[in-house]
């Protein structure tokens, strides 16, 4: 029995549609009161009814994600390159990088507020901190991907270290760098929403916080759906990049 194969993207889209239908059915059939769980159409109505509010908040969050994510991934990448390129550094700080991942970065938030105050810089700093570690670890790990024989080849012609770094080691590390980027991007979105909770300067996270205080799950879910859209778009973009990179190195 042969099925006509659906395109790859259609599976998650169908799953999402199915989840929304189940949600709607659950709410309608059981008569769940809207202050506990509103109907999906109610949530959509919130979004359409006040587009400026949500658009502004989404833009504010996206800017935090992009700026903080850029700073964090760039720093993480540089740390990863340094650690990957200098073996003693690898041995010295890799354990801490790994442990730092299980450390809740949220616990550093009060410190950031002391340093940067309650504003944009703190949000960006927090997002950057979230994005930094996976990128650093993945990049460092990527430096192990260059086959020994390839390094022998570069040694046999006494190739310069910088040349080998850019022309050989980084291309071999690229799939891992992208894998790190994928994790960093997702965490950057989480970081942006969290930052908006404790900085309270706007954005979707702030909107969720306000909605929670006035027990408005419809507004919360409307905001959350936009967070989801942002995260999914970024993840998808990195995924496309990753597919291209893997094709090259395989």
């Amino acid at each position: 029995m042969s099925h006509p194969r659906l395109p790859e993207w259609s599976y998650p889209v169908l799953a999402l549609a199915g989840a929304v239908v189940l949600w709607a059915a659950f709410v309608s059939l059981l008569g769940v009161p809207p202050y506990l769980l509103p109907h999906p159409i109610e949530v959509a109505r919130r979004l359409i009814g006040n587009p400026d509010l949500y658009l502004d908040a989404a833009v504010a969050t996206t800017v935090k994600v992009l700026v903080g994510g850029a700073v964090g991934t760039l720093l993480g990448f540089m740390i990863g390159v340094a650690v990957g390129e200098i073996p003693p550094l690898w041995r010295a700080i890799l354990p801490y990088l790994v442990v730092a991942r299980v450390l809740p970065v949220v616990s550093l938030a009060p410190l950031l507020i002391i340093y940067f105050g309650v504003g944009f810089a703190t949000g960006v700093g927090f997002v950057a901190l979230m994005a930094l570690f996976p990128m650093a670890i993945s990049t460092a790990a990527g430096f192990r991907q260059t086959p020994d024989a390839a390094l022998d080849l570069t040694r046999s012609v006494d190739a310069s270290r910088l040349r080998v770094l850019f022309a050989v080691r980084l291309p071999y590390a690229a799939p891992d760098v992208v894998a790190g980027l994928r994790q960093s991007v997702t965490l950057a979105v989480v970081g942006a929403v969290l930052a908006e909770w404790f900085v309270s300067d706007g954005g979707l996270g702030y909107l969720i916080l306000l909605a929670a205080e006035s027990i408005r799950p419809d507004i919360m879910l409307a905001s959350l759906s936009l967070v989801f859209v942002i995260g999914f778009s970024l993840y998808g973009a990195v995924g496309l990049l990753g597919a291209r990179v893997r094709r090259r190195v395989e």
Binding site: A149, S156, A167, E250
Partner: protein
């Protein structure tokens, strides 16, 4: 010219190479044959400056191997082709020259690939080529580097029987036109005899040179040379030397 004097390499408790001495003249094709773990790869890597000797010394063209490396005077071909997967055959061939800080000479590289029967593969990526074709590209890459010394470490080790001798014949052909000095490591006696002016025979435990056999077969040699009685005789002689020095006690050994 390659000169190896009392070269000893020790890995922890393992004496990989025990006081090996060897001299290869300019333009000579010397093959090294021996069982796994006899130190033949270690010998080659030491000559190429990839392995630091514990004792003894190596000279390539009168200088230490590191000098030859910097001068781009060592062309390595490894058992695995070591082509970069994100570069086409042509890009791989010119890339080694670029790494060595030389002019890429793209057109020349294209001609070399075509001459090696890789005309259709010039713009193909390694994943699109067979193992034999990749190794051909790697050999062309070593030739294109312009090194006067070629060091080949079982370059046909991962290829099937038919492809091996086909490749051997094409290596001989390109060597004939180039007057390069070649040190070629293999565990196949027929391959060593077919290719070499001289065959250096090694034994293991500890890794050492046990004999140097002059190959009296006339050149040019081709695949059909392997069907002659003289060839069979030469192979039998070397097999005998190998058997005499065998210490196959079934213990595990590293290949280096």
């Amino acid at each position: 010219m390659i000169e190896v004097e009392n070269l000893t390499v020790r890995f922890d408790d393992l004496l990989a190479l025990d006081a090996a001495s060897l001299s290869v003249d300019d333009g000579e094709f010397v093959t090294v044959v021996g069982p796994s773990g006899c130190g033949k790869t270690t010998l080659l890597r030491s000559v190429g400056g990839l392995q630091e000797p514990t004792a003894g010394q190596v000279r390539v063209g009168g200088d230490p191997p590191e000098t030859a490396q910097s001068a781009g005077d060592l062309g390595f071909v490894f058992q695995s082709h070591t082509l970069f997967p994100w570069k086409t055959a042509l890009e791989n061939v010119v890339f080694l020259r670029e790494l060595a800080g030389r002019e890429p000479q793209r057109e020349r590289a294209r001609d070399r690939l075509t001459a090696a029967g890789l005309g259709d593969a010039v713009d193909a990526y390694p994943r699109e080529l067979s193992g034999g074709m990749c190794q051909r590209v790697a050999i062309v890459r070593a030739m294109h580097l312009g090194a006067s010394t070629l060091l080949m470490d079982e370059p046909f080790g991962e290829l099937d029987e038919l492809t091996r001798y086909d490749m051997a014949a094409s290596v001989l052909e390109s060597w004939r036109d180039s007057n390069r000095t070649v040190l070629f490591v293999t565990h196949s006696v027929p391959e060593a005899v077919l290719l070499g002016d001289r065959v250096v025979v090694m034994a293991d435990n500890p890794g050492r040179i046990v004999d140097r056999v002059d190959v009296s077969l006339p050149r040019p040699r081709e695949e059909s040379t392997m069907d002659t009685a003289a060839f069979a005789e030469q192979v039998a002689d070397i097999r005998q030397v190998l058997r005499r020095n065998r210490t196959d006690d079934g213990s595990l050994r590293s290949d280096r």
